[in-house]
Symmetry: C2
Subunit: 302 residues, 2 copies
């Protein structure tokens, strides 16, 4: 029997992993910090503070999962990159994998980040691109990732999925795609930077499905989770505006790009495609249209 | 007032750091896990299990140190490189620096290791030699070191001393120099590998003094702690045998070298010498003679 414990299960990615796990036949046990429980059939929910070592030990002993999918981390928009909370989440990740091993766990996949790479390289390949994170978030993800992939507890199979850029329904309203959609839906102007940044954007449903595919494989080590398709921030914003017929309200160059904002962040997805055997299903046009519909319904704007 | 908390203070290096700290005017608070308390004047001792998060918090709140010198780690000879205990000590290090910050700590130096480097490079330089540890010990030290040096709590100054090879009185009897000395003192044969391995050996008293010098400086980041002088294992063993007039009882090639044993492990010590302004005081001949005398007294062999 395959019994998976999903952390961060009420979060942006985690909530999208529940249905694919059930579809693949997992018995799903989901952890939510804040008690929020997205609709999902047949999921057992737990409210646990993973920063408390004893709570982690109790949870693992109660669930005895064979599989672990760890999304939980500090993720407050605008604050998560620099926060000292990252140190606590790195520490919690070590607790989690140790207690998972004690409970008999066999296969674990953790969420990492493109911010572990030295992003001056732009095109990021697991085997050859040097890591040199510029923020507390990147450093703490990299440190935990090394432990998880290079020296997990004996007999455990592990992988580390590095997330690139993503968008989709239920994104925090202050993040790129969501902020542009919300501004334009409210009839406001969308003030953007120059927009020439090249990024790797993937729909959150595909990101979550890729994690489940990796968990369900025997691929070990670091795996980039991206589309492999370069798009400019400008083209993302223009697609959003086109769906709403609002190009005239987009102002490129109205704000400064963040200091040190990399020119290119693009995933080499050959491991994900060839070793995991996975490909994204949602195209950018379709995904953006769906995301705009979701925000329209949420804000009750017709 | 400069008040230092020393962890692992009854260990091989830690016990040698106490006198240099007192000599530089620090108020010394020392943590011992097992209750062993090496002789040292004016040191306040604490018996604390640093793997217990609440014990760490209580200790820091009670001592309120301005400085931290962290040596404690799992170090059982023959077992420490592969042990899963390394994960727990990495986690404990994150707890320690966070609680040190909460208690008002300003300057911390942690013990790292040459085993963090990709040792195929042989000559190890902080700024350019890639890290690619081959063991749980190396991975967990590297991960903690990244956090300590690249994203410490706000306002804290940190350094990470990478220890190379060392020897001296009170070394664990199964480690290289000690095992040869003990065998020859007992009148037995010393069975060695080929002995062609080039290493960077430093007396434990100098290693401890270098850590204190780094703590007392404002040098940040990774600093190699070594002599910078290459010696073969064969020459170390022959010097020991010469002190005891026992060359005839040394057998090189009697045992296999460990699998993956690197040909060369040598420190680039320019940061330690030029930025910290520190140099070793104990030469190899003098240090080995002193170590043999210590074992002779301990084993009561004249």
């Amino acid at each position: 029997m395959r019994r998976v414990l999903v952390t961060g299960a009420s979060g942006f990615i985690g909530r999208n992993a529940l249905a694919p796990l059930i579809a693949r036949g997992y018995e799903v046990h989901a952890v939510s910090w804040d008690g929020e429980r997205p609709a999902a059939n047949g999921v057992a929910w737990y409210r646990t503070d993973l920063l408390e070592p004893e709570a982690v030990a109790r949870l693992m002993a109660a669930v005895k999962p064979s599989h672990l999918l760890h999304f939980a981390w500090y993720a407050a928009p605008g604050k998560y990159q620099a926060s000292e909370e990252n140190l606590r989440w790195c520490r919690a990740g070590i607790d989690l994998i140790a207690e998972f091993a004690k409970a008999g766990g066999r296969r674990a996949v953790f969420a990492g980040s493109c911010f572990e790479y030295d992003l001056r390289h732009g095109y990021c390949s697991e085997a050859i691109t040097p890591c040199a994170p510029a923020t507390r978030y990147g450093v703490c993800k990299l440190s935990l990732g090394q432990i998880v992939t290079k020296c997990p507890p004996e007999g455990m199979s592990t992988a580390w999925g590095r997330i690139f850029y993503l968008y989709g329904p239920e994104e925090a309203a202050s993040r790129l795609a969501a902020s542009v959609i919300v501004a334009l839906l409210k009839g406001e102007r969308a003030r953007c930077s120059h927009g020439r940044q090249v990024r790797d954007f993937m729909h959150v449903g595909d990101v979550a499905d890729a994690f489940v595919a990796i968990l369900d494989s025997d691929v070990r080590g670091v795996v980039n989770i991206g589309s492999g398709e370069p798009v400019t921030v400008r083209s993302i914003v223009e697609r959003i505006a086109d769906v709403m017929d609002a190009r005239g309200r987009v102002e490129f160059g109205a704000i400064e790009a963040a200091a040190g904002d990399p020119a290119i962040v693009l995933a080499d997805i050959s491991r994900l495609r060839d070793e995991v055997g996975w490909a994204p299903r949602m195209g950018l046009d379709e995904g953006i249209a769906e995301t705009v519909r979701w925000w329209r319904a949420k804000l009750r704007i017709s």
